[in-house]
Every structure is written in structure tokens, then in C-alpha cells.
């Protein structure tokens, strides 16, 4: 019997969560022990002394820096055009991915899906060995690492809110690291340990099969560090804390959309299979408890929302604002620059630029070279530019207050559904903001997944006051977010205009109307196009005023004819 078995059979009390900084230090040390097995670290922190402390500890890995705008040339190596021209023979630059090793991705929250896909693929292939430290400097919950990377990197650390006094330099006894690395190969894994980690992942609602594998690697690194010949309870707990906690589905009180479908209970296997209802009654596996305790629950909830928000950022068609692109669209004049993966060489412009200088350059370089050959210098290079249209994000701000009679709310839902269908045809992104009572909520961040939009809308309850100003404020936030992602936001406000809750959440008709107008003006000033749809039974003069403040058209929702509305809205938006 291994020591592991003895401890496994007696479920003890949930472990006390280690101090936050100890957790950081442990994660960093484990990454140093086995960067390849753990695949890397997702470090969510703003630039600052705390982050510097972590990075300093990681310095022995000698990570090479990678920028989110890195093109394929930087990743895979490419022809170095400038050097080739200067030297007269082919010069290639080495790629970061082709040589492997630890990489440091700065501003990882800005990492485009294309780069994430390439890095993910490289992380999946064992040769050359690669690990990635992703520095996520996202300020908002919505700004975060692309899911393709979040799924693949083993560890997650968030330094937000950690006081500087609690931190200390992360140091290791000399020789400890190399000793741990040497022990790593020899650590044996009891099959029970593997099965328990898999079970814990399952109970935490982690769907990806990568998580248990990464947790195993983490447990092995922990065992190697502590000098255990095989995985012990403590190693497994460490693995669950560091690898599972940020992947876990929000525990109980979150909307059902955010949790994976409930697992069908297996007959005769009641210990490991618990549904959401019984989860609180059955004593949780110690590993599950450890993973849950390791991170504050509100952080987990926010991350679940952010996972949804992180849709895609590819540039598609749509009637968005003009954007200077390098790939396609209406051609613009060529400009000097180095061709890279993102920019194509404009050959004709380059040659035109080089032509007048040929006799001079030949004279300068002597007659040793072929007189017929063109001499092109890096300064002659011209790249192409195009103007393309950005994607559009249609933000629905829906009034779900009590003044919207229940039947009327159903009609509004019908209208939004029709609009969603037309958004689908135009490949627009849609977002849904609803407001009622004393708050406005972002029910759906900009996404192209219409099924999600529909689901959120169907479950929308009605009732309460009308916090119009709050709704507009929230819509403006979403619009700013969409714009930051390169989309062109358009707000469609569906309300009866009877605002009675102010920005501060206090009732009062006059104050509420004034706040709403103010928010509307702010929204218009930010350059966001909007359209107001009057869903009231009788036209409200206040709403017309609001529409003027928004610089938007006001359309009455034709009774029981949502199709007409769709046409009217499309016309207003395209006009």
C-alpha cells in the first residue's frame, strides 16, 4: 500500500487555503520546475512592482518576448526582405515557434484569434517544446485571454488586489530547482491519483480533457519539488488549486446558461456523481473543495461572463465604419513600409520608385554586377493598403419594466427576434442590454451566436421601474467595448420612455428623465449611431425629446406587426 492510499480513504476537512502570495510563489516555482508539462501561465495583472516580482522569479526560464501583433514571419521565420536586398543573397530570420522554448506574450488580452490559434497549435505539438507566459493586462472582465489559450495553459494567477506588503521576493535554495527537475522524471503516478483528478474536474464542471492532464503535470511538478517519490494528497490538492480553480464552472447561484448541462447520474456511482441540487449536501471531494476555495467566487463569475464575451474578433463584412486595412477592400495609395505577413508588397509601386535611381546606383556599386539587374533598396519598398468596412455590433437596449405591459413585452421580444434574424443575415454581432427595477444588465455581450441571444431574450422577466438612464449608460459601455474591438456599434433602444428611476437608483420622474437625456447626449457625443423604438401604447413626447438628444430617429412599434418594424429599423440604420 502506498502512502497515497492511506490518505485517500479518509476524507479530512477541506484544506485551509494558503495565503495568496504563497500560492503565487508556489505556482511560479512549479512552472520553473516543469514549464513544458504545465504548458505555461496565464498571469492576470496590471504592470506594476508585484508583476515585476513574479517576472523576475521567472527570469531563469529566459522567456523570449512575443507581441500580440506578431505576424507569421516572426512566429515561423521568414525571408528577411530588407537584409536580403542589402546582402544580395537570401537571408532568413528565425521564427519564435520553430525554435520553441518559453515565450512571454505581452498584452495577451489583445491577442487576436489568429495568433491564439497558432500558439494553441504549437502548444499542442510536443516538438519543439514550448511554454507560454501570457501577461493579461485586461482592465475589464470582458478583456481577457482568448479561450483557445486559456484552455491550454496550465496555471492561472491573478495579482489584482494583492497587497504589496504581503509579497516577498520568490527565492529558491541554490540547487533546489535543478534537483527538482532531476527528480521529475522519476515521480510515479498511482492510477488512483489520476482518476481522482479526473473525477474532481468532472465534478467542477470542467469539460475540457486538457485540464486533468495539466493537473497531473502540476501534481508531478509539486511532488518533484517536495521530493515525494510518488504523488501524495498534498500534491493533488496543489494541482486542483492551481489548475482547476479558474476553470471551474460557477458553483451554484449563477444562471443555468453559464454552467454545462447537468450530468446524468450513473446508477451505483453516487459518490462521484452529484447534480447541482445535491452538491451542497454531499461532502465534496477534498480536491473540489480546494479548487473552489482557491479563488474568490466573484472572480469566477466574472470570468464565466468574460468567457462568453470573448467571441471572435475577425474582420468580416457588414456595414461598419471605414477601416484602413492591409488585406482587401477599396485600394488606397501605396505607402513606404516593409512587407510582412499583414502587409503585401505593392510590386509596381516599388519598381516605379526604384526605376529613376537605377543608373546612379549602378554607377555607385560599380560594374561588377549584372547591368540588367534591378537594384532595389529597402527604402524603395511600398506596401498596399485597402479600405474595408468594420463589423457592426447591434446593441439592443430593451426596457423590461412594469410600465411595459406583459403583452407588450412579448411583442417587443418578437420584434427583437426578427431583428436578430436580419442581423444574422448581415452577419452582424448582437448584444443585449436589459433594464428594469433599479438596474441595467448586460445579458449578452457582443456575439454572433444568435442561439445564445435568443435564449437570453426568451428568459427575460418583466416588471419594476424604468431606469432608462442606467440602461443607456450600460449600452454606452457596451458600445465603447465594441468599438475597442474594432466593431462599429449601433444602439437600438426599445422603450416606452417613461423613465422613473434616476442614475442613482432613486425613484423620481423629473430627475430620471433629465438623467436619461444626459446619458443620451453623452452617447450621441461618442459618435454612436442609435435608433429609438417607441413601444408605448400612446406616443410619449418625452421619448421624442430623448431621440433628439440621441440624434436618433424615433419609430413607433407598429402594433402586432413586428415585420414592419424590422424593415423600418433596417432603413433607419442604413440611411
Amino acid at each position: 500500500m502506498t502512502p497515497f492510499d492511506e490518505t485517500a480513504t479518509q476524507p479530512g476537512p477541506p484544506p485551509a487555503s494558503p495565503a495568496p502570495w504563497d500560492r503565487v510563489a508556489l505556482a511560479v516555482t512549479l512552472l520553473l520546475v516543469d514549464p513544458q508539462g504545465l504548458r505555461g501561465l496565464w498571469l492576470r495583472a496590471r504592470a506594476g512592482p508585484l508583476r515585476d516580482r513574479v517576472l523576475k522569479a521567472l527570469a531563469p526560464l529566459h522567456p523570449r518576448k512575443l507581441h500580440p501583433n506578431a505576424d507569421d514571419g516572426a512566429l515561423y521565420g521568414s525571408l528577411d526582405l530588407a537584409m536580403t536586398l542589402a546582402q544580395g543573397h537570401t537571408m532568413r530570420s528565425a521564427g519564435l515557434l520553430s525554435t520553441g522554448g518559453p515565450l512571454l506574450l505581452t498584452m495577451a488580452e489583445r491577442c487576436p484569434p489568429g495568433l491564439a490559434a497558432r500558439l494553441g497549435q504549437a502548444l499542442d505539438t510536443p516538438t519543439p517544446p514550448l511554454s507560454l507566459i501570457a501577461l493579461d493586462e485586461g482592465a475589464e472582465a470582458e478583456e481577457t485571454l482568448p479561450p483557445a489559450l486559456a484552455d491550454r495553459l496550465g496555471l492561472f494567477l491573478s495579482l489584482d488586489g494583492l497587497p504589496w506588503q504581503d509579497s516577498a521576493p520568490i527565492t529558491l535554495a541554490p540547487g533546489a530547482l535543478s534537483a527538482a527537475r532531476a527528480r521529475l522524471r522519476g515521480v510515479t503516478t498511482p492510477p488512483e491519483a489520476r482518476d481522482r483528478l479526473t473525477r474532481a474536474a468532472h465534478e467542477l464542471g470542467i469539460a475540457s480533457a486538457r485540464a486533468p492532464l495539466l493537473a497531473l503535470a502540476c501534481a508531478r511538478a509539486a511532488a518533484a519539488l517536495r521530493g515525494h517519490p510518488h504523488l501524495t494528497e498534498a500534491d493533488l490538492t496543489t494541482a486542483a488549486e492551481l489548475v482547476y480553480s479558474h476553470r471551474a464552472a460557477p458553483a451554484m447561484d449563477s444562471p443555468p446558461e453559464d454552467t454545462p448541462p447537468p450530468e446524468p447520474p450513473l446508477p451505483g456511482d453516487t459518490k462521484t456523481e452529484d447534480s447541482a441540487d445535491t452538491r451542497s449536501e454531499i461532502p465534496e471531494d477534498i480536491l473540489v473543495a480546494a479548487a473552489r476555495a482557491a479563488l474568490p467566487p466573484d472572480l469566477l463569475d466574472r470570468m464565466a461572463l468574460a468567457r462568453l464575451a470573448r467571441g471572435q474578433q475577425t474582420r468580416g463584412t457588414g456595414a461598419g465604419a471605414a477601416l484602413r486595412g492591409k488585406h482587401r477592400g477599396r485600394p488606397l495609395p501605396a505607402r513606404p513600409g516593409r512587407p510582412s505577413d499583414g502587409a503585401r508588397l505593392d510590386l509596381v509601386a516599388t519598381l516605379r520608385n526604384a526605376a529613376p535611381w537605377q543608373p546612379m546606383r549602378r554607377a555607385q556599386l560599380g560594374t561588377a554586377r549584372d547591368p540588367k539587374r534591378l537594384i532595389i533598396l529597402p527604402s524603395d519598398l511600398r506596401i498596399r493598403r485597402f479600405e474595408e468596412r468594420a463589423e457592426r455590433a447591434l446593441i439592443f437596449a430593451v426596457d423590461a419594466s412594469g410600465s411595459q405591459a406583459v403583452a407588450r413585452l412579448a411583442e417587443v421580444k418578437g420584434a427583437v427576434e426578427l431583428l436578430l434574424a436580419s442581423a444574422y443575415a448581415r452577419r452582424d454581432n448582437v448584444a443585449l442590454v436589459t433594464f428594469r427595477g433599479t438596474q441595467a444588465a448586460l445579458d449578452l455581450p457582443p456575439t454572433r451566436s444568435l442561439v445564445q441571444a435568443k435564449r437570453r431574450l426568451a428568459g427575460l422577466p418583466g416588471g419594476g421601474g424604468t431606469p432608462l438612464a442606467l440602461g443607456l449608460e450600460r449600452a454606452a459601455e457596451v458600445a465603447a467595448l465594441a468599438r475597442a474591438r474594432g466593431m462599429t456599434p449601433v444602439v437600438a433602444l426599445l422603450t416606452d420612455g417613461r423613465a422613473n428611476i434616476g442614475l442613482d437608483g432613486q425613484p423620481g420622474r423629473a430627475k430620471a428623465a433629465e438623467d436619461a437625456r444626459q446619458m443620451a447626449r453623452a452617447l450621441a457625443q461618442s459618435g454612436t449611431r442609435a435608433v429609438v423604438i417607441d413601444t408605448g401604447l400612446r406616443p410619449q413626447p418625452a421619448l421624442n425629446e430623448l431621440a433628439r438628444a440621441l440624434q436618433a430617429e424615433c419609430i413607433a412599434l407598429p402594433r402586432a406587426n413586428a415585420a414592419q418594424l424590422s424593415t423600418a429599423l433596417a432603413a433607419a440604420l442604413d440611411g
Binding site: D72, L79, L81, T84, G88, H89, T90, P113, G114, L115, A117, R118, G120, Q121, T125, P126, T127, P147, A148, D151, T189, P191, R194, D195, T198, R199, A207, S208, A209, R210, P212, L213, L216, P260, E263, P264, L266, D269, E273, L308, Q312, T314, R315, G316, H327, R328, R344, L347, L374, L420, A421, Y424, R427, T447, R448, S449, L450, V451, K454, R455
Partner: protein
Amino acid sequence: MKTPFPFSAIVGQDEMKQAMVLTAIDPGIGGVLVFGDRGTGKSTAVRALAALLPPIEAVTDCPVNSADPADCPEWAAIIDRSITTRPTPVVDLPLGATEDRVTGALDIERALTRGEKAFEPGLLARANRGYLYIDEVNLLEDHIVDLLLDVAQSGENVVEREGLSIRHPARFVLVGSGNPEEGELRPQLLDRFGLSVEVTSPRDIETRIEVIRRRDAYERTPESFLAEWQPRDAELRARILAARAALPDVRASNVALHDCAALCIALGSDGLRGELTLLRTARALAAFDNAPEVTRDHLRAAAPSALRHRLRRDPLDEAGSTARVTRQLAEILP
């Protein structure tokens, strides 16, 4: 390069594995679209498939893997015309790839250093006679999608730019994967895929443990793990080759044709591609089962993956097409 995870060792995901094997038997079925969660073995299956497939014979220097020296494109400077066997190409098309890399473009290196106008073949050339794999296909930029649609339809890549006028064969099986939560796929591209399968994480704990057990064994002790599974891969490869040989002789009775048509009418699938793909898939399945004739069982097994993405879809319908196909199957093919 490490040997990929063996195809036979993939736990569960039977529909995905079946779809991939069937396109290996009859590439004419068209591509496979795999939609599902992260970390469910989509990429693993594609890489495993590459290792599973029998090698092809091609001209050594040919950039488009031509089988016959006479078929090599004239723009390619071919020195070695001998025939060599090489693994079936499985080419990755990464997100954000530029048009140049996909279709090929003027070889700027040679143009500038040697003053020659030469064509540098792209990913489509490399994928000829093999597979083109697009991970996160639903996030692919629209202009690349347009380009792929065109090439997938004509089987030929035509490049007309920078004074080049080049064409070369580009017949490949398109394999796409993605997560539907992150975006929809354009109906035009959807239709290009012969088969579509949905994968989910295994729901029962024992299956999950088995997945982790095998993957861990593969990573920790690759030699013994591969020794255990490679014979099964070899067996499957032999079965695929036998099915390929048997495919032309598999009969499809009028009853089977009638069943195909009745099913597609009941489902209201657009165009006739549904029937044709269903029949081809069922035929490949019959060949795989070493059956002389397409039976209802084959049709039933092939119908969900061949038809679920072709239904005229209300974009807001969340019931899912799979349920509709299953319902009609029970009704039309009892």
C-alpha cells in the same frame, strides 16, 4: 516529429471517427465539419487520421503531389520526376492566414534576388490529394472562406495576380472544426461540407477517466502505448483499403434511392446535394462493413451526419437539427 496519438485509441466520439473514416474511403463525399467543445479531441482526431491514412504515391518534386509526371503543372521546375510514396498530406490552414499563403503568390524572393517571375505555391497546392484542416473554421475571415468555396467547388486553384496566371489542381477533403458558441458558419460554407458531426465532452466519469488514462500513457510511455495501439491502426488501415477496393461494386437498390429521396423531402433539405451525399456516405459505409448492398441500416447510420447541416434552418431555432433528423428517420425509415 513525434508519432501522433493513434486513431484507434481515441475514446468514444464514434460519429466523428466514422465520418473521418468514410471520407478516407470515398473522398468524393466531401469534407467533415466537427462542431463541439474545447478539448474534446477534435484536433487529435485529425492528426491521428493523417497517420492512419495509407500513403500516396507522388512525383518527388511536384508541389501539388501529382501521381503522374504528366500531370505536374508546367510552372513547377521539376528536376526529380521519380515517384516516391509520402504520407497523405494533411495541411493546416491557420486562422488569419493571408490570401497569399493560401493560394500561393509571386515568389518575391526569386523576383527580387534573381529577377525571375516564379510562382510560390500556397497551402492549397500542398493539400492537393489530401486533407485541408481548418481549426476554428467559424472564425475564418470571410474573404478566405469565399476563396475556399470557389476552390472546393472547382477542384482547381486559379491565381491571376502580379502578372502571374497560374492554375493547378486542388482537390482536397476539407476538415473544419469549431465551437458553435463562438460564432455561426455561413450557410454556403456549411453546405460544402459533406458530413457534419457534433462532439461533446463525455458525460460519464468512467469514459473521462479512460480518456485521461490513455492520453497520460501516450505522453509518459509513448513506446509501449504505441506498440499496443499501432496494430489496431494497421487493422483499420487495411479495412479502409479493402473498402476502397470494394466501393465501386457496392450496389444501391431503387428502394435505397427512394428512401434517400423520401427522407430529404420530409426534412426539406435544400437542393439535391443532401440525397447525393447521403447515398455516397451510405455506400462507403456498406463498403466498410463489407456488405454487397446499401441497406436501411447504412442509411440510418449515415443520415444524421450527412443531413443535419443541410436543413433549412431558422437561425433562432435552438432545438437543433439532430433532433429533427432523428425524428424523421424514425418516421420514414422505420
